[in-house]
Structures are given as structure tokens and as C-alpha cells.
């Protein structure tokens, strides 16, 4: 009956499994397990032996994707100047048709402003893309554009929380934390969830990748691309006092003393876990710098990505998912601004062009690189901001926030390529066809990763929390 060691406490799940439980499903048992936070899914054999909160877990059902790379565009990129082509705007320039006469944040009374950029068709699907994204445009046949996104607020901080944690206030776990909680991670020598940005952290900082009430093991590890040194990605990663061999001797001594203690405590499982964790930390010291050191990349690869800071993040994102990291959140930022795309208030022409230039080539290279390595199939790439921008003008050359409709695109990871799903009205303000709320996007991301958003729950302060709260619909239409 006891396959591990004779003294270990038998737990419920063990017992159920060993009794050959023929009733219901174990998923139910796990969900209904009392007092302890219910695990999302039944841990695999490996996970149970590892005893680690980060060990890989079996998903609810067969996943389409194993990793997520979120290319987060804080500040709100304008849909009608990037991927949601609306020729009708130009025909009604300066007018304020009823369709766009809606309250925006500042309630401007200005009329429609045509996009300053030209659009051109690309790919077999003939998708219109703005001139500021020429590299990404080459990949439209692999991309699924969702033009009918909408969210609950036109304010940055709250909308960013909605996009990254499913709630308007910074009180809930981030998407990546939920994923690692539900699935564990594949490489025990690296963090399961890495958040990166060049220079400025996105507004709300840690809350975008925080674990909130989930156990600390599920928090995102933040890396600033600008200041990055591979040996200092994580706190206290490098031992500056001892060479590796001497450190190993110390680790062995610690294990020996802990083993003696473990014997004395009759194999308390809690103690056993800590011995394994120490070994994991020992390996991390070397695995982490290796993952972040790009000096072994070929010249062609480096050239393909280009030398922007965001592109470096894209390259690191590939290296991380290649090594089994569950989720990478790469936020855009230039000029140290925490809501970069918000320069769109004053000046779409220069602001958006500059921002697109800083990320376009890197993103295209990431898609190409993932595809070449056969990683795109199992990696879901998600691009988008917390909301979009209105087709009407604010001041002379800018646009105000628009949470009624905006564009997010996804690629790889089991979504259909070369399609555009949902639509905004003829001017691009409001999502009118096949509307997709942020909760629906989250439900879909979890689904692609093999998780049922209604069953991925965590008990906290007297109730079971979900990423999607009481909402969310999986957008099956876009799944390949």
C-alpha cells in the first residue's frame, strides 16, 4: 500500500488512487478536497514524487498549447491604426456619426480622424495591415485577429488589471500565476512564469505578474531587459564566496544533516520536500544564467531579431519556452514610460510609429523562430493592450481610450491562422459582432492550455476564486 516510504503520511489522493477508485473522476475528488486549497488538476506521478508546488500537473483535458508568450502592449494601441482597417473613417472624416457618439474617458466632442497610415493587404488571407507593422504583416497567415475585444473600463490601471488578472483592482492572481498553479512547470531549474520589460515596468508593476493570494511559488519572476545580467536575473542567484565544488560540499553537508533530522522525525514529508528544493536551487544557479545568456545564438538569429530592447525580450522569450517555462509576459515600453502606447493621446503619427518600430521586427522574428523550431504549435503567442483607442480625434492628432472595442491577436498554440474573428462597427469604435470580453479571452487561453476555467479554482477567504470570476466563455470558433 505504501509505495514511497513506510513512514509517509498517506493522503487522501493517494488513498483514492490506491483503492482503485472507480467512481466519478479524481478531478472531482481533487476539487472537493476539504480545507486544503484544492489543486486544479490531479498531480501526475512525477509531481507527487517531487512534492513540489511547481512540479508538472496533468491538465483537465488534452492541451493544444504548453506555453504562453504574452506580448503585452500597455497604454492601449489604436486598433484602427494597426490591424483593424476601417476605410469608412476617411469617408466621414471630421464627422461625428451617432455610431461613434459615445462617452469616452474625456468625453471629447471631436469628429472621426482618418488613420495617418496606409494599409496594404498581406498573405494568402489578404489581411489589411498598417504600414507601421510591416514585419508582423508577413505573418498574418499564422495569426488569428480578434477585432471584437471589449473590457469594463477606459482607465489604464484598472483595465490592465482586468487584462492581466481578470479583475479591475489589483487583488487577484495574474494569468501566469493561475497557469503555473494549474499546470506546474516543465523545467524545475527555472521559474515557471517570467515577466519582462525594457526599463519601465508596466503600471501596477508586480500586480501584473503577482500571485496575490495564491502560494508564493506561483508568482512571476520579473526581469528588466535593460539592466539584465544573466547572473543576476534572480535575487541571490550567484554565490560570490565559494567555487562550485566547495559549494557542492556544503550542499552535501546540509543534505546529510537534514537527512539525520528526517530520520529522527520519522520521514515527515514536509522535511523531505525541503531537501529536494535545496537541490533544485543548487541547479538553478547555473540553469538560469544559461537561459538568459544569448551569446550562444547564431549571428543570423541575432540579426533576424534586430537590436531593439523589445526584440531582445522576444529572443529571451523563445529561449525560455524552449526550456519549458510555462508563461512569459513581455511588456512593451520605450522612453521609460509605464503605459507606452498612451502617447496616442497627443500624437498617433509619431507616437505609434515609434512604438511599432521598437517591437515589429522582434515580434515577427519570434514568430518565425518559434515556427522554424517547431515550437509555435505548442506556444500560444498573444499580442494586445488593455484596451484600444477611439476612431475620433482628441485634440489634433491623438485618440482617446476605447474600451468598447479593440484588437488582440493570437498565433500558434492551437488557434486558427489567417483569420479575423469578430468585428467592430464600420468606424472601429464598438465591438458589434462576436464580442469577446477579456474574461472570454482568459477562458480561451486556459482552454488552449488544457484547463477548464470553471474548474481552476483556489479557496481563499471563504470562497473559491477563478481567473474568470463568474464569467468567461471559451471562444471555440477560433480554435484549430
Amino acid at each position: 500500500m505504501f509505495h514511497r516510504n513506510p513512514f509517509q503520511t498517506i493522503d487522501r489522493r493517494d488513498a483514492l488512487r490506491q483503492l482503485g477508485a472507480g467512481f466519478g473522476t479524481l478531478g472531482l475528488a481533487a476539487m472537493l478536497a476539504p480545507s486544503k486549497p484544492s489543486l486544479a488538476a490531479v498531480p501526475s506521478e512525477a509531481a507527487m514524487n517531487l512534492n513540489s508546488p511547481l512540479a508538472p500537473k496533468v491538465p483537465h483535458f488534452a492541451p493544444k498549447a504548453k506555453h504562453v508568450i504574452q506580448l503585452f502592449m500597455p497604454g492601449g494601441p489604436s486598433q484602427v491604426d494597426t490591424f483593424d482597417f476601417k476605410p469608412e473613417i476617411a469617408k466621414h472624416a471630421g464627422e461625428r456619426p451617432e455610431l461613434v457618439d459615445r462617452k469616452s474617458l474625456r468625453n471629447t466632442k471631436m469628429g472621426l480622424m482618418p488613420s495617418p497610415y496606409s494599409f496594404k493587404q498581406y498573405g494568402a488571407c489578404g489581411k489589411f495591415v498598417s504600414e507601421i507593422f510591416p514585419h508582423v504583416a508577413e505573418w498574418v497567415d499564422d495569426i488569428c485577429f480578434i477585432h471584437s475585444m471589449h473590457t469594463d473600463t477606459p482607465e489604464h490601471a484598472s483595465a490592465m488589471m482586468m487584462m492581466n488578472a481578470g479583475h479591475l483592482q489589483p487583488t487577484r492572481p495574474s494569468v501566469g500565476s493561475w497557469l503555473v498553479y494549474g499546470l506546474g512547470t516543465e523545467n524545475q531549474d527555472l521559474p515557471g512564469f517570467v515577466a519582462m520589460s525594457p526599463r519601465a515596468q508596466p503600471r501596477n508593476k508586480l500586480a501584473n505578474w503577482g500571485n496575490a493570494f495564491l502560494p508564493g511559488a506561483y508568482t512571476g519572476t520579473y526581469v528588466n531587459i535593460h539592466e539584465m545580467q544573466p547572473t543576476q536575473i534572480m535575487q541571490d542567484l550567484k554565490n560570490t564566496w565559494l567555487p562550485k565544488l566547495d559549494q557542492r560540499q556544503q550542499a552535501d553537508l546540509l543534505t546529510r544533516l537534514n537527512q539525520i533530522d528526517l530520520e529522527r522525525q520519522r520521514y515527515d514529508p514536509q522535511l523531505e520536500a525541503s531537501i529536494q528544493t535545496m537541490e533544485m536551487a543548487f541547479r538553478m544557479q547555473f540553469a538560469v544564467p544559461d537561459a538568459f545568456d544569448t551569446s550562444d545564438e547564431s549571428k543570423e538569429t541575432l540579426e533576424m531579431y534586430g537590436d531593439s530592447e523589445y526584440a531582445k525580450g522576444c529572443l529571451l522569450a523563445r529561449r525560455l519556452v524552449e526550456r519549458g517555462v510555462r508563461m512569459v509576459q513581455l511588456s512593451h515600453s520605450i522612453d521609460g514610460y509605464d503605459i507606452a502606447w498612451d502617447t496616442g493621446h497627443n500624437d498617433i503619427v509619431n507616437g505609434h510609429r515609434k512604438l511599432a518600430e521598437a517591437c515589429d521586427q522582434g515580434i515577427a522574428a519570434l514568430l518565425k523562430d518559434l515556427k522554424q523550431r517547431g515550437l509555435l504549435e505548442e506556444t500560444l503567442v498573444v499580442w494586445g493592450g488593455e484596451f484600444g483607442r477611439a476612431p475620433t480625434s482628441e485634440g489634433q492628432k491623438g485618440r482617446d481610450h476605447d474600451h468598447y472595442g479593440f484588437t488582440t491577436w493570437m498565433a500558434g498554440g492551437g488557434v486558427k491562422g489567417g483569420i479575423s474573428f469578430g468585428a467592430t462597427d464600420e468606424f472601429g469604435l464598438t465591438a458589434v459582432e462576436n464580442r469577446v470580453h477579456v474574461h472570454d479571452l482568459h477562458a480561451t487561453i486556459l482552454y488552449l492550455m488544457g484547463l477548464d476555467h470553471e474548474r481552476l479554482t483556489y479557496r481563499y477567504s471563504g470562497r473559491d476564486y477563478r481567473l474568470t470570476d463568474v464569467h468567461g466563455r471559451v471562444v471555440h470558433e477560433i480554435i484549430a
Binding site: 478536497a33 473600463t153 501596477n204 508568482t219 533530522d261 528544493t277 481610450h401
Partner: protein, 823 residues
Amino acid sequence: MNNDPSKNSLAIVLLSINSVRFPAPGIHLFLRALFFATGLCLHAWILADDPASPLVEKPTFTSEQIEFFESRIRPLLVQHCYECHSTDAIKLQAGLYVDSREGLLKGGESGAAVELGKPEKSLLIAAVKYDGYEMPPSRKLEAKEIEALTRWVEMGAPWPEVTSAPGSTKMEGKQDWSQFDWEAARQSHWAWKPIECPAAPPEFAASAGSIVNPIDGFVIAGRAQVGLREAPPASLHILARRIYIDLLGIPPTPDQLHAFIQAASKDRAMAIRSLIDELLASPLYGQRWGRYWLDVARFSDGRGGFLEGDKPLEDAWKYRDWVVNALNSDHPVNDFLRLQIAGDLTGNYSDAIATGFFALGPIYQSDGGDPDSIAQSRAETLDDRVDVLTRGLLGVTGSCARCHDHKFDPIPQQDYYSLAGIFHNSATQSLPLAPRDVVERYNAYKKAVDELNKKIKSAKKKPNKSKEEESTAERNSDTAEEPSPIAQWERELAELEKNAPPALDSAHALQDTGSEDMKIALRGNLLKTGEIAPRRFLRILAGAEPVVFRNGSGRAELAEAIVDPRNPLTARVFVNRIWRHHFGEGLVRTPSNFGTLGEKPTHPELLDWLASEFVRQGWSLKALHRTIMNSATYQLGSDYNETSSQSDGENRYLWRMSPRRMDVEAWRDSLLSVTGELDPSLGGPSLDNIIDSKRRSLYAKVSRNGDVFHSDRFLRLFDFPLMRATVEQRPSSVVPQQYLFLMNSRFIMDRSKALVEHLHRISHSDIDRIRQVYNILFSRPPDAREEEIGTNFLSAVRDGGSLSNWERYAQVLLGSNEFMFVR
């Protein structure tokens, strides 16, 4: 016979357990607990064949099963069936009610809709599968939904008990609270019932275990029911370390340990008693136990980011010090709570600091001025106040009634807004800490200074209007006989400032702003309001018609309602938290949720005895510690026992003391203490980077999101919780980053060096130092094997690195499990 193979196989397992006489009676119990715990109420299920079984007549379901029903099943029934099959149906179809369990069991014209445990025989399941009947007629349910219904029938159709309570039709559609039978509801759940001091349990034979005080009687009675044997008492070494770390958060020094063991060899009980008394009198006690309360108070130094105005709470530390002092002086807990709710209203100005309990909570803001967002932020802020009040002090999840009536407990949405209304009339302010006349004098001074400054400023500005005017002004001033008014004002200002009263100290505190009731916010939206919610206490605790609060915001009256001895929750919740910190788990294992979804007490009578005793002893926390710690139960050994662990792995019956990992504060303080570096001084502003300080971890500056200060980073690494909402219990996780800290951080390196220096000062040989260091760190001598391992490691020749052998060895010992655990 039934044909369900899975059911048969389980029945066989159970039968064999029942028929074979196991040497360990605990196994049967364990399996029973197991099946109950996993939500598969096996007994009810198997016995469902037997109509006489009491379990069928009066089913008991776990809270998990009820939740499964509430989250998966009831919504289905409401959405798809109620229109035609409920008491609300305009025209009932087929005589079938699906809005009660009885209705489903009784069935309609075609017979019972549900056969417990037998989905394949249940009409309900057949109908939703479109097998014979086709229900709901509009469209077939999704496979997932059918599967959920099937599982639910398999479980024995769990349904919340409250529906069968007299007068209660709760959660059957919209509840008419004016008709609700509050008295019946109060009798339906243990936590709403009044605290009744139980008689001490019957005496037990000495063989059953040792009895020092009534606690032991209750615990032994519990264990006797299930045939569990208690662990032997803890050794004196272990007990000393346990008591020190428990009360002070640091281990005993070798001298303290020695003195205790000497005393205990004469009279064990007496030595323990005096040690507890001695430590309770130490100021280090308040620093240790104050921190536990700060978790409940979700205490932080502010800077919650954009959505909270990003403001630091400069005076937050005053509330922290107030808590520490209150505990050190054994301030009666009822008054301790009273002041935290309404201290600003006592007339004693320094009491206002205590309201930091609420005032230091998050104040959510809008990031742009959108009216919906402003309302949402306001609602979120009020929710924080109601949440910390209800979960923190009452163990009730009041916030669940913010958008709709509470789904599980009898808390109408109106009751939520009755409480929220109190905070709607209480502003968070920086209050001056001085008697009124001093404040008035200071304000008058401030006003005079401001006015003069304003006059001077505007007079100086005037000449700038134009070049011409300026030059005229200059000429004028050059030639003017009479002194400029500016000079006069400046003289006055200098005079005022010379005699300036000292600046006023201030604290974050609540202050009444009005006396206006709120209206119910429909679906939690403050912009869409419903009926008025008079400010008053929760009806489940205060009865159908609670006294309406009329005095200002109503906080003073609220405070009295909280500490009213007739309130069944406050004392229970408080003693349970204290118990939890002594034993690792509470008697109720959901310390902030005593509601129907919380866990039931493992020892209900003991809980009530402790609560009554606590009130009887004048709400003295120190007396409570003494009662608990002098019990034989507290002094049990923590030895693992295979048999007991198989029956009761979670130690619900307290057959031993559960070993525990120290929290981050105790662990860091202990590291500084064993190296002789700890600075135990009391109070003062919080420290940005606690890791560079020698002060106690309690004094770390902590931000709301745990992302601003260096201190945050260190604390969060070791499970320090997010101070966004009241903390029910801390997780204890083991992650690699912690070991990176142990292996590579400057902090650990410095402690290792300090420890080695200390050892070299007090001792001259390696073997003696090894013995000393085991005593210092683990409160015990090393055994022969450990001495040998140490000697070998220290004598090895090494070629690299900048640490001495002793420093390497010390680092390993400081990072060991034994040091981190309390046993």
C-alpha cells in the same frame, strides 16, 4: 441487488474493513473521514438501499458537497427548470417541484425524479439526457452539465440543510427577509448559537492521558472516542525551545535553557509555569504576538500603487506600536477591539491611533475620472472595511453579501450595506495627536502664518505686471517714507514663527463625517441603488430588529455590538486564533470563516469553554496563554507515530504537538538572536530595508502589494502574505528561491561570520564549539554521529573560496531544517 460495479467494489472494501478486526481501530475511522472528506459520502450512498437508514432520512453533507451543489447544480435548476417546476412557477408542470430536495425525491406525476445514488434510475437524469422525456424542452443541456447532475445524484443529492429549517426558504429564489425566522436560523448552525460554558468533561483514568486543566479533559475525551493514543510529553529541551519561540519568537540562550532544566528537574510543572510567566512579562512577547494581530489587520505602510493613490502611510507604525503596547500591557481584549473600531470617539486623543485598524486599509482610487470607475473604487474601499470587520473580528464572510444576499449564510445584502454605511460616514484622516486646546492653538498659529505668507506672496507678485509698473514700484519703494507693508508682514511672520508651538504629532485614524444611511447597491453598483439600509448590526447576531445606530457614523454602537458578551462570535473567533498560533491549527480550521461553509470545530465544547473562560477572566490574553500553555496537551511531544498518523494525519484530535516551520519574522529574529546580534528595542518608524538592520522583523516597512521596499522582497520570499485583505492564515511553502537566499545572500553570510566569531570568543576547541553551537541553535547537545560529521567537515583541506571552514559549517547549520522548525 444493485448493478453498479464501482459501487460494489467500494462496498466490498468497506465491508471488509467492518468485518475484519484490524489491530488499529483508527483505520476504519480514517477511511470514514476520508470518504466524507473527499465529498463522496459513502455511507449515505451505500446505505441508500436501506430506507430505514437514518442517514437517508437526515443526510449530512460536507461543505464541499454543498458548494458543488450551489456552484454547479442550483444554477442549472434555476435557469432551466424553475420556470415550470418551482413554487415560483406561474403554472406548475407535472406536479414536480425541483426547488427543494424533498420535491425531487417526492417527484411529480411520473414518480420520484431522483433516486439517491442512482443516476441510471433517476428520471431527472433520463430527462436531461432526452431519454424518454426531453427536458429542458428548449434545448438539451451541455454534456458537462448533464455530467454534473449525474455526479450530484451519485453523491446523494446534497442540498443545504438550512432549507429545511423552520420558517426558512432561504436561497429559493428571492428571499423575503421580513418573513425570515431569525431565531430558527440561529439554532440551525453552531456558530450562531450562544456560547454556553460546558461542564468540564468527565474524569478519565490516569492511563488515558494526563490532565492538568479542563483543556486536557476535552482533548482526551475527543481522542477516546476514536481510540487514539497521545504522544509522550515533550522533552525539557524541546519544550523550552517551543515555549521561547512560541512566546517571544526567539530560542532560549544556553544559559536560559540550563536554568530552566535545573528548575524543572526539581518541579517540572512549576518550572514551566514560571517560565511562561517570565516570558509573558518580556516586552519581546508583544513584538511577537502583535505581529499575529497585524496579519488580521492587513497592516501595511501603504504605497499601494496607482489604484491607491501611491501614498505612503507615514504614521502607520504608530498603530503597530499601539498594538504591541496593548499586548504587552495585557489590555483587555474587548477594549482592545472597541478602541480599534471607535477609539477616536473616547475623548482620549491617543486612542484614535487604534482606529488605524480600519484607517490603514487600502483606499482605492480611479485612474482617470471615469464615473463608473470612481464608484467602483469607492465600493471596493468600503468592501475592505466590511471585510476586515466581519472576517477579522467575527469570522463571518460579510463581503459575500455585497452584490447579492449571501449564498450560504443568513446575511441579506441589506445587512452588508448596514455595515458599509457606518464606514460611509467615517473618513480616513491624518488626525493630530494632542488635546483639543493644543490642537486649536496650533491651528490658529498655522492659519495666521498661512495668511501672512499669502499676503506677502501676492504683494510681491503685483509689481511684475509690467515693466513700467515694476520700475514705478521700485522708484516708489526707493523714495517712500512709510515702511512697505511687506516688511511689516515679514516682521510679524518672524515673530510668530519664533513663538511657534511645537508641530503636532499625527496618526492615520477614522473620523465621523455624518450620519447618513446607505442604500443597497444593486449588483454591487453604487450608481444603481435600491432600498435603504439602516445602520445597525447583523441580524443573524442581533435578532430580527437590531437597534438602529444613530450616534454619528454609528461606530461607537458597532463597537459595543462587537464586544457584547451575547455576541456568540467575537470571543470564539479570538480564542480560536490564539489557539491556532499555539498549535498550528485552530479548533476551527477556517479561522476567518465560522459560517456554514467554514469547518466545524474539532472540539466544540473546548472552544466554548475557552471562550467563556476568556470572558470570565476579563478578556485577558495573558491569562488565556497561561491556560493553554500549562495544559498537558500543549506540552505533548511532537513525535511522529505511524499508526496515529494514518488515522489522523492532520492531527485533528491533538494526539501530538504538530511540528511547524517558523514564520519569517521568528526565523530571521532567531538567526540574529543566536549570533548575539539582535536589537530588541521597541517601536518607531518602519525600516525600508530590514535585512540591513539588527532590529526585529516586525519593524520592516511593508507595502500593500509587497513590491516597493527592500523589506518586502525579503519577507515575501518566505511566505509573508499580501497585506491587501485580512489574512486568515499564512501559507507555508518551500521554494528554491528560499534556498538561494540561504546559500548566497549577504545576510546569511554575515550571520555565519558573526556566529563563528561568537563561538571563537566563548570556546577554544572545535569539539567544544560544535557542542556549543548545537546548544545555541537547537537547544540540545549533538550526538556522536553529528560531532563526527562536524569534525570531519571542519578538518577537511579546501583550496578555494573566501570563507573559513567554520564559516561554511556555520552557514549550513543556520540553513538546516532543525533550526527552521519548532517541535
